[in-house]
């Protein structure tokens, strides 16, 4: 706890973040969901962040917390009980706003049998739920939101951070895997109710192992649908990942080259499913 007050240095994949916080929600969240991650006392840090209660007359009536990046607040404050979610969004912001050494896709990614699958995010398509189910079914989690592509070797770089789940997904995953460890839910956020799934220890312990991209899968949950894979146009996949990436345009011709080599390396599919157990089975077979 003292560490968090003066600065706890958390290692997540290639990044080290120094976190300072006096809020109980952040402490609880880190204790529960980040217990497998390496922690350091000193050394170079990529990011310096603080999550603290806002001072002032409001702090008793409707307490708020704010996220600071090296003393600067990039967002407006949120209700205090959203503090851990705010930290997670803040950490994503740090990476998405600065890590232009990588091509950063808005996609989930997982690895099995030495092959990595990329799940581009379409809002409402159930990507996060599927990602959570896969990581609870023997897939190594690389990332649930920010997929990083290394510019030198074109491999995917893991973060292995908690998977963010919303609303109904939370109960769906609890049913799917009753032993899944999830953090306290934050209600009434701008995304509804939000909770985070603890990544598997294996995912975290192997977070220094990059993965070879092999599949790009566009998931779509459809009521009563049998799990089915159909081919997705590669040119379309290119445009989709480029349009949804965090920094495709910023990287210029490098972005084009990296994205193109990704498309070259990957089979591209649409994936329709309704039952998670069905879905995880079909995708596991695909990874053989």
């Amino acid at each position: 706890m003292e560490r968090l007050h003066s600065g706890l240095i958390l290692e997540t994949g290639p990044f080290r973040t120094r976190i300072v916080s006096h809020t109980p929600e952040v402490l609880a969240g880190l204790d529960l969901l980040y217990s497998d991650f390496p922690v350091h006392d000193d050394g170079f840090c990529d990011f310096h962040v603080q999550v603290e209660r806002v001072q002032g007359p409001r702090r008793y009536f409707r307490p708020q917390v704010t996220f600071m990046f090296d003393g600067m607040a990039p967002f407006k404050p949120l209700p205090a009980n959203h503090a851990f979610a705010l930290l997670e969004w803040g950490l994503n912001w740090c990476i998405a706003g600065h890590a232009h050494h990588y091509l950063m896709l808005h996609a989930a990614s997982l690895e099995k049998n030495g092959r990595a699958v990329i799940l581009p995010g379409e809002p409402g398509a159930g990507k996060s739920t599927l990602t959570a189910a896969l990581t609870l079914s023997g897939f190594r989690l690389l990332s649930d939101e920010l997929t990083l592509v290394d510019r030198e070797d074109r491999l995917l770089v893991p973060l292995a951070r908690p998977v963010s789940l919303k609303n109904a997904s939370i109960d769906v995953i609890r049913s799917f895997s009753p032993r899944a460890v999830m953090g306290a839910a934050a209600h009434d956020t701008h995304k509804g109710t939000v909770s985070h799934l603890k990544p598997t220890s294996e995912s975290v312990l192997r977070a220094d192992e990059k993965a070879k991209p092999a599949l790009i899968i566009f998931p779509r949950w459809k009521a009563d649908a049998e799990a089915k894979l159909t081919h997705h146009s590669k040119a379309d996949a290119f445009m989709h990942t480029a349009n949804h990436a965090f920094n495709y345009n910023l990287l210029g011709s490098l972005g084009y080259d990296l994205n193109a080599s990704l498309i070259d390396a990957c089979e591209c599919y649409d994936f329709e499913y309704s039952q998670l157990s069905d879905a995880t089975l079909v995708l596991s077979e695909l990874m053989q």
Partner: protein, 87 residues
């Protein structure tokens, strides 16, 4: 317009990159930083122009497209700053 007289070329310093998948082409226009999705035939047309300037009939013959389609493509690409009529 007498299409056989007008020659077309790639704009100066366009810095084009092309990749093909199935029957499509994804083009990177380095000068503007824009990325465009084209048919593979239009991609091949651009590759013809990268080798040397050509007229619409020449391009239509080389890539097996109708002259009207070639003209439409060239005009659209000109609007994007990728091709231009040779002075």
């Amino acid at each position: 317009m007498n299409t056989s007289v007008v020659t077309w070329r790639i704009a100066n310093n366009a810095q084009l990159r092309l990749r093909y998948w199935d029957d499509e082409c994804v083009l990177y226009h380095g000068a503007s930083g824009d990325t465009h999705r084209l048919t593979d035939l239009v991609g091949q047309m651009l590759e013809q122009l990268l080798q040397k300037p050509a007229s619409i009939p020449e391009l239509a013959a080389a890539i097996n497209l109708h002259e009207e389609d070639v003209e439409t493509a060239l005009n659209e690409l000109a609007r994007l700053g990728i091709t231009q009529r040779r002075a």
